[in-house]
Symmetry: C2
Subunit: 208 residues, 2 copies
């Protein structure tokens, strides 16, 4: 049996504190790996300037989101700073079954739920080079006032405490390096022994 | 504390059946990663045509090898097709402490011993695309007669049964791809959470 026939996609979960530069790293990663399916989350929060429905998020009402919860349509969901965020189970399963790698951008609560439901998921936490640099990046975004920045830094600290649940920590020092490291993780994960034992089936009993 | 200060080298163990093309893959890997220290094994077997003492192996007498065993100088050693093969502990520790990645080319018994003594070692098994291709490669080497080839194929089957002890299986389809996958594994392993938790120390208690 060929390698391709049995190949299942990798489920990659990327988390990281606000301001770490996750969106930029994801854009860089997808530009070199356009075959990765980036799962667009559902959210009840209002779109920020420049955000597009169906691209950055699927923006839905609170009522609609709560219906999706009730109907079991979500792989995970969480409430974060007063808004719901969630991931559609059906879309992801279809892609993984077709052998497509799926990337989820979700926060720490959601990531923990995904790992529970899909233990084979690969959890990557993106960290800033330092907390000072994170603070600089948050200020540079110009989307938050000082109080919101302070709140985000406290939140970042809390999220970083969840790091040990993740499989990998990637430092977003430069975007290119961070994206390259995530690509390396994906390539390495595909080589993990339990995912490849079918390739040596029959070797042990082979006759010259 | 910077990332570099705490960095310890990765210990990589590469195994694979005779004829799979391990030496070629190692040469390719070292040409793109000349910073990797390739640990030259000690052996009591006779040099093959073109093999150099201190380069391919450190060729020693059976008496000298048995002295090294007695004096505890070896990380691992094994007897294989009537000859001893072993790895010097001291050289490896020095390199790892300096932050240098160390590559060991050893067979399955030796690899198991290394994993026992150094659980953080990364074990990679190089497999051929198929048993037929392995048989072709062994014949192409022109170093063995048919009987020896048959024996090597049986041996290959036995070695492949040990695959589940390895962390990764890399298919040597093309040398460049196999070397690239090993590089990716190295890069990914460096990002594994337990090796990087020191990078987020202090984040959790940070003040804006």
């Amino acid at each position: 049996m060929s390698e391709t026939q049995k190949k299942r996609g990798e489920l990659i979960v990327l988390s990281g504190p606000s301001g770490v530069g996750k969106s930029t790293v994801i854009a860089e990663l997808l530009s070199s790996r356009p075959d990765i399916h980036f799962s667009v989350s559902f959210t009840t929060r209002a779109p920020r300037v420049g955000e597009q429905d169906g691209v950055n998020y699927n923006f839905v009402s609170r009522e609609e989101f709560e219906r999706m919860i009730r109907d079991g349509e979500l792989l995970e969901y969480a409430e974060y700073v007063g808004n719901y965020y969630g991931t559609s189970l059906k879309v992801i399963q279809e892609q993984l079954d077709r052998g497509v790698d799926v990337l989820l951008d979700i926060e720490v609560q959601g990531a923990a739920h995904v790992k529970e439901k899909c233990p084979e998921a690969v959890l990557i936490f993106l960290i800033p080079p330092s907390i000072e640099e994170l603070s600089r990046r948050l200020r540079g975004r110009n989307t938050d006032d000082e109080e919101a920045i302070a709140r985000r830094l406290v939140q970042a600290g809390e999220e970083c405490r969840e790091c040990p649940r993740y499989d990998y920590l990637v430092v977003n020092d430069t975007v290119v390096d961070a994206a390259r490291q995530i690509q390396a993780i994906l390539e390495a994960e595909r080589c993990r022994t339990p995912k490849r034992l079918h390739l040596v089936e029959g070797f042990a009993s082979a006759e010259p």
